[in-house]
């Protein structure tokens, strides 16, 4: 027998993830919804010996066609045939939460269970809810919960079980509107009825969505009933709107809230007036235009230190142990080809993948904590104005800062942004931010060639890179990525102490996903580069493919005064940016020879080009994992273009200025 499917629906910040984790524990899987970059989580729980598949829908406030998250959730509810829908409702904010509930009821879905979460908090705020009356009024079972404390989980499982087996038959209330609006709904329903379309979708829902001018439903009508019918219906809606003098979606929304308000009076009482609480007092400081930025700086500093001060040494240890393992293994393999492939290609590649694990895990840990504490929303508020100038939302500052440590976790961090459009722009520009591997190149060059002004030179490369990143963001968001700028309105949840179980589980799952997704790309990339540098003869002989590629590009490199050796070094830098200097050293025989072979200006050009030219293979893999191959390819080509442009400009400008 197929497992029964339970869908979890709810607003953002209602503790949906906590409920999901409490239900499924470690038996969960993170992936993407087909075709989009919206995260899909699935898990399994067992009750009375039966296994249930839990699908966590994206957290949304409504079910319109305006965002991918909402469409994904809605399409699953309509077409995914869930056996039970668990709607998680925040007891401290019932009015707004029931808006989504009503959208679900509008769809004519019956098997709904309300998980009324954060009961403990509601009690503290003096909100008294009569659970029995609430269930009666809404027509569906209501399970009071405090998921963070584990309260109500067993009851929820039992209720889901009962509904799935028809032992409890919910009969949700149908949201109704004013007589005038109801007449419009009836009118449109009539125009649609008795067609193939109404066999597949609830007719009342279709009518309501058409009144809201829902793009997707309009497309459905066009597909099933033809252009004429759609025109007729939309014409009618236009007339109705002219009559009311207001957009139909606004009318429907306010009447829906009115309907909820009327229901709520039957089961809820507020015994305290909502005053200024601790969160508001903290916010006076944390989103203050001056103190807020100071606090933000401190938080960033701590997160940055935490991730990289612990992560980078761990990465080094893992890297070293894999190299040591390779060196130990090498003499035991007789075949030279096999030895090279295994030691340099495979062990090197696997080592590279796994060595990123601590960084990625610590990063996700920090992000989860910031998110669950409620601070992320404040970052968004603080940075919104500044970041918008570059076509990015406020929260996008986080991946940019993390990029200074390592672009791989930074690219992963773009998933904290709410809109697909913003995620694409943010991961596009991230590789320009110089990571710590490039710091080693920049500091080597500035130290070796610019003894006097080395700090100034290093800082200038950083500034150049950041300016390029921000201008590119402006460019991409204007020309490359579709979608309008999203209006800035954001919920500021109460500050909370996070549940460690949730945070750890979350970070673990996401890091594991990174290794699975990025792993193969990094591995095959490493093997490929190993092949280029060892065939037909090893690098240094002048006849390896790598050197031939370098020589082929020499005329191009000459445009910025660099030679074929630079081309080969940059090729190796794709594996890891710190390779650039060591490869150069090998090709020239020694680092000293390298220093004598270049003028300071040439070295500066090399530093700039190394910083900008291409994401390392792990970053490319991360971009692919977070979006798709196409986007990763576009980023790569764009970076090569920008690096060439900047490199050539710096060289000529420098020559003219007499350096």
């Amino acid at each position: 027998m197929a497992m029964k499917v339970v869908a979890l629906a709810g607003n953002p910040n209602v503790g949906k993830t906590t409920v999901f984790n409490a239900l499924t524990g470690m038996r969960q899987h993170v992936g993407n919804w087909p075709g989009v970059t919206v995260e899909k989580k699935e898990g399994v729980f067992e009750y009375k010996g039966e296994r249930f598949l839990v699908v966590d829908l994206p957290g949304t406030y409504s079910l319109t066609a305006h965002s991918i998250d909402e469409l994904v959730a809605r399409n699953f509810l309509l077409n995914g045939n869930p056996d039970v829908i668990v709607n998680i409702v925040d007891a401290t904010s019932i009015l707004r939460n029931l808006f989504l509930t009503m959208e679900i009821f509008d769809m004519g879905l019956k098997n709904v269970v309300i998980a009324l979460n954060k009961m403990d908090l509601a009690e503290k705020r003096g909100i008294k809810i009569d659970i029995r009356k609430m269930a009666e009024t809404l027509g569906v079972p209501v399970v009071p919960m405090s998921a963070k404390e584990g309260v109500g989980i067993e009851e929820l499982k039992e209720t889901v079980y009962n509904v799935a087996h028809g032992k409890v038959r919910p009969n949700p209330v149908t949201p109704t509107y004013d007589p005038d609006v109801e007449r419009e709904i009836r009118h449109i329903s009539m125009a649609l009825s008795q067609t193939e379309l109404t066999e597949r979708y609830p007719v009342r829902w279709l009518a309501i969505k058409l009144l809201q001018r829902d793009d997707e439903v309009m497309k459905l009508v066009l597909r099933y009933l033809g252009e004429e019918k759609l025109k007729e219906i939309m014409g009618h809606i236009g007339e109705a709107e002219a009559k009311y003098g207001r957009a139909m979606d606004l009318i429907l929304a306010s009447q829906k809230y009115e309907f909820i308000d009327n229901l709520m009076h039957r089961f809820i009482r507020y015994t305290k007036s909502e005053g200024i609480n601790l969160t508001d007092q903290l916010d006076r400081l944390l989103i203050h235009p001056l103190y807020g930025f100071l606090a933000l700086g401190i938080v960033f500093y701590v997160v940055f230190k935490f991730v990289f001060a612990i992560g980078l040494p761990l990465q080094g240890v893992l890297d070293d142990s894999f190299s040591a393992f390779g060196e130990w293994l090498a003499p035991h393999i007789a075949s030279e080809t096999l030895r090279g492939l295994l030691v340099d290609g495979i062990i090197g590649g696997v080592g590279a993948v796994l060595s990123f694990f601590p960084l990625v895990f610590l990063l996700f840990l920090s992000l989860s904590v910031l998110e669950d504490v409620g601070y992320m929303a404040r970052v968004a508020v603080l940075m919104e104005k500044l970041m918008r100038k570059f076509g990015l939302p406020g929260k996008a500052v986080i991946p940019l800062i993390l990029g200074l440590g390592c672009n791989v976790p930074a690219v992963m961090a773009t998933r904290t942004l709410d809109e697909e459009r913003d995620r694409l722009v943010a991961m596009f520009v991230n590789p320009f931010i110089p990571c710590s591997a490039r710091l080693s190149v920049i500091s080597f060059i500035s130290g070796a060639f610019f003894a006097k002004h080395h700090a100034l030179v290093a800082v200038s490369v950083y500034l150049l890179a950041i300016v390029v990143a921000l201008l590119s963001a402006r460019f991409v968001s204007t020309f490359l990525v579709k979608g309008e700028e999203t209006p800035f309105v954001i919920e500021l949840p109460d500050y909370l102490i996070p549940s460690w179980k949730t945070v750890l589980l979350h970070s673990w799952e996401r890091s594991k996903e990174f290794v699975q997704k990025a792993g193969t790309v990094i591995l095959f990339g490493s093997i490929f580069i190993w092949y280029l540098s060892n065939y037909p003869l090893p690098v240094g002989t002048g006849s390896s493919y790598a050197e031939k590629i370098g020589m082929f590009f020499e005329p191009y490199m000459k445009l910025m005064s660099l030679d074929w050796k630079a081309a080969v070094s940059l090729l190796f830098g794709i594996i890891a940016k710190e390779n650039v200097i060591s490869t150069y050293g090998i090709l020239y025989g020694s680092a000293d020879a390298l220093v004598n072979a270049m003028t300071p200006l040439q070295a500066y050009v090399l530093a700039v080009v190394t910083t900008l030219y291409i994401p390392c293979i792990a970053t490319i893999a991360a971009i692919r994992a977070e979006s798709n191959w196409r986007w990763a390819a576009i980023v790569t080509v764009y970076m090569i273009f920008v690096a060439s442009l900047v490199g050539i400009t710096v060289w000529h400008l420098g020559s003219v200025l007499g350096y």
Binding site: T60, I94, A253, Y257, D283, I287, P289, V381, E384, F488
Partner: protein, 77 residues
């Protein structure tokens, strides 16, 4: 007299009832979904001259950009 003013002109501590939202469907939808819809009462908690406003609406604390707030019309209470 009950005046209808843009939300952005309210001061911290003031209350108002939303009467209209002026903007495209995407904009309207976003506000409606977070609970800012004609008919609801809101309470301004904070308003920095150049930053966003912080409101309390239906049990939820919201931050809204200045530009957006100037397109939401409220009746001052």
């Amino acid at each position: 007299m009950n005046m209808i003013v843009p939300l952005s002109s309210l001061q911290p501590g003031e209350r108002g009832v939303v009467v209209d939202i002026r903007g495209g469907p995407n904009f309207r939808n976003k506000l409606v979904a977070v609970g800012l819809t004609p008919g609801v009462t809101l309470h301004v908690i904070e308003a920095h001259p150049y930053g966003p406003m912080v409101l309390f609406v239906g049990g939820t604390r919201l931050a809204i950009g200045r530009g957006m707030a100037s397109r939401v019309f409220v009746r001052r209470l």
